[in-house]
Amino acid sequence: MLYPDTVEAEVLVHKPWFVATMFAVILAAFLAFNLTGTTMGDLMRPVIGDPLQSGLYGRFAVAFVVAVIFSLNVVLIGFAPLKVQIAIVWLELLVLFLGFFETFHLSLPFIWEKLPFLITQGAVTTLYVSAISIVIASVIAILGAVAKLSTNGFAYAIASFYTSFFRGLPLLMQVYLIYLGLPQLGFVIDAVPAGILALSLCYGAYMTEIFRSGIQSIDRGQWEASRSMGFGFGITMRRIILPQALPVIIPPTGNQFISMLKDSSLVSVIGVWELMFLARTLGQKTFQHMEMLISTAMIYWIMSICLELIQSRIERHYARSKVR
């Protein structure tokens, strides 16, 4: 929440100037396109006659109706309580999106036929590759953050070189470098471990910085209190500092997790059969690319939503000690 001031303000979407402006903008926007040839024009046949013959009048009538419906919708939603507003707007946007996909005339039987394989092979691979990478990246991040904050020259140098290098190269290039480069040194590495290694190293570098800033956000007094009680560095870090840094670390880390879930699609270039790989290959034979791409997009989105929910749960868990 932003800071809620106590000033009574009129609802924005009920202000006459706002409604008028909105109406004008929508009307102008829809006048710019000729929609008489679409379903909308067909629906208005009783008013404008044959849509294709209706000309400028038909065009105006369609735009006018759209603008009225849109404005009325917004004004009405303005009366609802906050939670209902959020739900309605989400629902409407979702319907619009589905309507957009509908225009591709996707072959549903084809999707249903491929969906089980897409999930059991693709989504599962994506999930376990990301999950393992996330765990390894977190471990790297804690070590890296401690190293970057330490007064040990070697630790600092190694950690800062690492973060600089792996944040500085495109992830796609790291995937190639590890998969194609390591065999040159004599380590032949499979595609899946290579992908996991690349993702872990890259995200470990980003998360090192997140963990470092989280640790630094803890007041010096906490260190002093802990050390003055005789706790060593290990206990202080594990039991005093990190638990307090976690609420600071979790939101950006959740962000990284979601981002990693999608960046795991980059390992498809080395032939790992994860979601993106299947999305590109399954539809190829019958030229049904859109079907597979859109279903895969939906699967990615659903998995991200799950991660968002998990993140908000964890955040709520750590909000306990902030109660007043």
């Binding site: 007094g221 009680m229 706790f231 060593g232």
Partner: protein, 247 residues
């Protein structure tokens, strides 16, 4: 060194860069003694007591705490800190733990005491500072005075040989100062060895065996509260006392 000396500082000096914060500090604290350190801000009084548990390192001279000499190649600081309790100006309670846990973790993690035993000790000392009923709350739910009393209880749970107080009432509302001072006074009555950096002159007068006045990193005056308040020798001390008694 006689056995009842808890803290002994000999010719201690410390610099922050080129700036000398402590100069020729000589001070002994005997078992059961209550010492109040006062002086203008920036005179080095906090730095001095922070040297006693090695939150700060001194660069010259020698500090001996409970028989252990602190020097620049200090390895076993934890051993010293076991016997030295410290109470901070800003409480520094662990906000992610309940009051009870704050008091339990010291004995549990340092002395290896069982959780049940630690809980018993914690409750005893929370009783001692008169807030056993807040045991299951988080620090943020308590008032400043209550938090400071928890901080005192947390230190007491370690059963220290000496307690260091670093301006324990400076961050408190006027009304809460007295509840903390009452706790400290009752500790003093029970014979706890204490070194307090404070500007509470009433407390100094009532409780202290000795008052130490510091200015510019040096101890410029040292004496009983009686002598200190009624017959200060040093010019800077006279000015300080007249300033704080003016209002």
């Amino acid at each position: 060194m006689s056995l009842d000396l808890i803290i002994e500082a000999k010719d201690v000096a410390k610099w922050y860069g080129a700036f000398q914060v402590l100069k020729d500090i000589n001070l002994t604290v005997r078992k059961g003694e209550r010492i109040v350190v006062c002086g203008p801000s920036g005179s080095g009084k906090s730095t001095l007591i922070r040297c006693f548990n090695r939150l700060e390192a001194h660069q010259q001279g020698e500090i001996t705490v409970n028989g252990i000499t602190l020097h620049d190649k200090m390895r076993n600081v934890a051993e010293v800190r076991k016997y030295v309790g410290m109470v901070f100006q800003h409480f520094n309670l662990f906000p992610h733990m309940t009051v009870l846990m704050n008091c339990m973790v010291g004995p549990m993690w340092i002395k290896g005491v069982s959780a049940a035993e630690a809980k018993k000790t914690a409750l005893r000392f929370l009783e001692r500072v008169r807030i056993p009923e807040q045991a299951n709350k988080y620090p943020a739910q308590l008032s400043g005075g209550q938090q400071q009393r928890v901080a005192i209880a947390r230190s007491l749970c370690m059963e220290p040989a000496v307690m260091l107080f670093d301006e324990p009432t400076s961050a408190l509302d006027p009304e809460m100062v007295s509840e903390v001072l009452d706790t400290m006074t009752s500790l003093a009555r029970d014979g706890m060895t204490m070194v307090c950096v404070t500007h509470e002159m009433g407390f100094a007068r009532a409780v202290a065996d000795r008052v130490i006045f510091m200015n510019a990193g040096q101890i410029v005056e040292e004496g009983t509260p009686q002598a200190f308040f009624t017959n200060p020798q040093n010019e800077r001390t006279k000015l300080f006392i007249s300033q704080i008694l003016k209002h």
